[in-house]
Amino acid sequence: MGSSALYKIILTFGFLSLFHAAYSAAQHRSYLRLNELDFTKLPTDIFIQALISLLGIMFGVIHVAGNFKEIKASADLENKSWETFRNIQSFYTFCHREH
């Protein structure tokens, strides 16, 4: 469970960082509009921050979504012995010892 909490923290920080990048981009845009400049490209730091937070979110989502199971039908039977399957409780006998 400890690692799952770590991935959730990564996910939360990724979302916050992506939102921050979006807000910065909107502010940059309004700055350009006030100074009557043309939009050519975003500042590099916003660009990099958005990309890194996207990667972080994808990494977090993949690990939060759940664990894969083995698809071979025999995968979860391999570790069990025949004794486990033959275990039928109705056939237990406890009266085989002398008093």
Binding site: L42, L54, A65, E70
Partner: protein
């Protein structure tokens, strides 16, 4: 519960296959929405957005393979290629929706 593959006679656990594919589907939908948001944020237009989507799909594929393990992904998935191409165009619409929405929010208004 188990189905037989065509060529080799390996019995697969259908519940496990369905579990894995639903996890992948979940990741793919979130990836489409979030990469769309990022593309809109970055202000990508026409072909750059499509290229960004392809990059995002490839990155997600690599990350899923990393999670499953690059050498023993066949324990969890039958085909590696269908993992990449499944739902490519279906998720594209989610991507375009988020892309245009966030582009409008950040760059137009």
């Amino acid at each position: 519960m188990s189905t037989k593959a065509k060529q080799e006679s390996i019995a697969y656990n259908e519940g496990a296959i369905r579990n894995n594919l639903s996890i992948v589907e979940y990741c793919r939908t979130s990836m489409a929405a979030l990469s769309g948001c990022t593309a809109g944020l970055l202000g990508l237009t026409n072909l750059y957005g499509a290229i960004f989507y392809i990059c995002a799909v490839l990155t997600l594929w690599l990350m899923i393979l990393y999670k499953a393990g690059f050498s023993d992904w066949s324990k969890y998935f039958i085909s590696r290629k269908s993992l990449l191409t499944n739902g490519f165009f279906g998720q594209l619409f989610t991507y375009i929706l988020c892309w245009t929405f966030i582009y409008g929010m950040v760059h137009v208004y």
